[in-house]
């Protein structure tokens, strides 16, 4: 569980996050939604510790980000996995090497065990036939699956995904969303996903935080969001003509 307490974040003079207060639950797919530029990526990077917040506090299962020493920070960051918007795979390494990379860099376990563990996750994301391929030889959906496997190979407590299905066709997008949800349940991870895609909201939105221009406007589940009376949420949810027509 990650608790966000009253955080502010600005760059120079532009305020990006304003008084964000929320909770992300363990074993659930938590979604941060909002239009492009609303501050989703910045919030995620604050949670990851890539950005320092100006004020406020983040609690990782009770451990406060405030006054955290370098070693404590490292300790927490070792429990995090991240799936980047563009996958961010290492392009000189093949699929197996990419997934093994965190094990190579951070653990002292022997070669056989590393390969075994990497292979377990490769099978989990259905990439057994692509082990030796380079990222440039993979489709967008496969790259995402490699990125997911790499993010969970260290058994993280927290998994962050920045628009994991952007640039994918709708069918593949749902496959990726579902995969993330299954993994979240299987390993009981606190998963936080950035999205602006209504499909994901409906499919896997167990706890949704809606951002607009750096403010948290609304929070709830996918069942609640369709019936929300909030004008701004409504504008977002029913921004597509199709959904407007389907509205009951």
């Amino acid at each position: 569980m990650i608790e966000v307490k009253n955080i502010y974040k600005s760059f120079d003079k532009t305020e990006v996050l304003n008084k964000i207060e929320t909770v992300f639950y363990r074993g659930k797919t938590n979604l941060i939604i909002g239009q492009s530029g609303s501050g989703k990526t910045v919030l995620l990077k604050c949670l990851l510790g890539l950005y320092e917040v100006n004020s406020g506090e983040i609690l990782y299962d009770g451990i406060s980000s405030k006054n955290m020493g370098i070693n404590e920070k490292l300790e927490i960051s070792r429990q995090m996995g991240m799936v980047f918007q563009g996958s961010a795979l290492f392009d000189s390494m093949n699929v197996l090497e990419n997934i093994r990379f965190p094990l190579d860099m951070l653990t002292e376990i022997d070669e056989n065990e590393k390969n075994e563990r990497a292979l377990k996750f490769i099978e989990r994301v259905n990439l057994k036939d692509a082990i030796e391929k380079l990222p440039s030889e993979l489709s967008g959906g496969m790259q995402k699956r490699v990125a997911i496997a790499r993010a969970i190979v260290m058994n993280p407590k927290y998994l962050f995904c920045d628009e994991p299905n952007s640039g994918l066709d709708p069918k593949t997008a749902i496959v990726i969303d579902k995969l993330i949800q299954e993994i979240t349940k299987e390993y009981n991870i606190t998963t936080i996903i950035n999205s602006h895609d209504m499909n994901s909201v409906i499919e896997i939105g167990e706890n949704i935080v809606f951002l607009k221009e750096g403010l948290k406007i609304w929070q709830g589940t996918n069942k609640e969001i369709l019936k929300s009376k909030n004008k701004e949420v409504d504008d977002f949810v029913y921004s597509s003509e199709l959904l407007k027509k389907l509205r009951v």
Binding site: S77, M82, F90, M105, L106
Partner: protein, 244 residues
Amino acid sequence: MGILHDIGKYFLMIKLSFSKSCKKEVLYKQIFKEINDLILDSIQIVSILSFFIGGVVSIQMALNLENPLLSKTLIGYATRQSVILEFAPTFISIIMAGKVGSYITSSIGTMRVTEQIDALEVMGINSLNYLVFPKVIAMLLYPFIITIAMFLGIIGGLLAMTLTGVPSESYIQGIQMDFESYHITYSYIKTLVFAFVLATVPSYHGYYMKGGALDVGKASTRSFYWTSIIIIILNYIVTQLLLA
């Protein structure tokens, strides 16, 4: 102001590259990869360039020394001096600012724009140590390249003279004339300074770049601009300190 900020950030980058080290095996592997990419892959172009430059230098020396009163050994002497003091260490380093420098900037810059560097940081890896430190270590072998350039430059001169009809004995006598070992020391000190610049300045331009794929090209150009200017200025300073 802008430049001072950059200089400060550059030195901070170097400090960070040498701290919070990754695992030894990982670094060894990276160092070998960099030796291959930065040093071994450069031998061919350096060889071709220095061989022909040596030839041209000796021809020009011969043209300027046509006076029958001057000994032909001067050609060999002058070629040796120019190649060892300037052409090999400085001229080749400027070429390397283009070859190795743009390679470093574009490879690190691509990692920056595709969030690979963020990915390293998220895993709790010191990305500067992982990416920059092995390059600095690999470039400790740079004097090896400059030695090849010196040798082939002088051989190029010899061949050009043989083709123009200058007796090779007088050229060889020339290259052995008034040999001062301090000049070699000076040359290798310069070379090591340039090696450090070649590894770090392009890394800086790649690591701290912003934007997308198009900006990687721009960063490479800017990296070449600064690396070559810094090399030329340091060349002047080192020469002033050691030879003047």
